[in-house]
Amino acid sequence: MFSLLLAATTPAVETAHDAVDAHAAHADAGLVHELVTKFGIDGVNVGMQLFSFAILAVVLYVFAIKPVLATMDQRNSKLAEGLKNAEATAARLEQAQKEATALVQQARLDADKVITDARQLSKELAERETAAATERANALITKAEASIALEHKKMLDEARVEIARLVVATTRQVLSKELSDEERSRYNAAAARELTTV
């Protein structure tokens, strides 16, 4: 600010000196002198004002402008840091999203694998259970068939024994009625021959 003021005032002073020099050189120089006189421009006053303004400018620069600039620089650095942090955060967020996506994908794959394994296991279990049930059923059928065969054989044996008993009883009754004494006598003689030759 002070430099700006100096830059603004310095051309004015040079312009004044050029005007004095030009007064000696030109005839219109009296016009400038007249103007300075009319407006009451005093070099000492101007110098004092310039000195006072310089002090004011220094004081303003030290106690107002410099802290303000420092604060602005600090805020700018904070903003830059914030932007940098925001970019990093965005990058981390993007990375996190990628990781989350990868995790979700992996979880989906794991879930699919678990489901596939569970289906396979269920299928194998069902097959084993089916095989075991079939084996049990076959065993039951075999046992039942054996039992039926045994029962059938037992029934046949019982029927055979009963039939034989009936045949023998009937034959015994028939023979006891139908055999004549002559036939019995002949049979007795034959039996005697058989027994005496033993």
Binding site: R160, V161, I163, A164, R165, V168, T171, R172, L175, S176, L179, D181, E183, R184, S185, Y187, N188, A189, A190, A191, A192, R193, E194, L195, T196, T197, V198
Partner: protein
Amino acid sequence: MRGNKQTQQLAKQLFALSLDNGVLSSERVAGVLAYVEKHAPAKSIAVLQAYQRLIAREVARGQAIVEHAGPIDGNVLKSIEGAMSQRYHRPVAASAKASPELLAGLRIRVGDDVFETSVSAQLDALASAV
């Protein structure tokens, strides 16, 4: 127990005295009984019971009971007596006994031995075989 053993031994001795050349003699049996009646040994009833069992067994060994169904000829009995005497090497007398349940045929008992050829036995064998 000791008395029972002595009774058996005395009965066997009396039975041995009742044999004449290995054959049971009625005279000797009568003499043994007279001796027992006269002297009355200890436990004479038990001795006589054991002696009776021995005599009965010996009598049975010398007797062939021929069970038959239907008529039987006397020659058949004689042939049986001869065959059994030859088989047991002692005289065996045959006696007939009607047994209609045989239907036809003979059953001969000599002591504990049984010989049988009859329709009833064959039917029983048939029933057992089936």
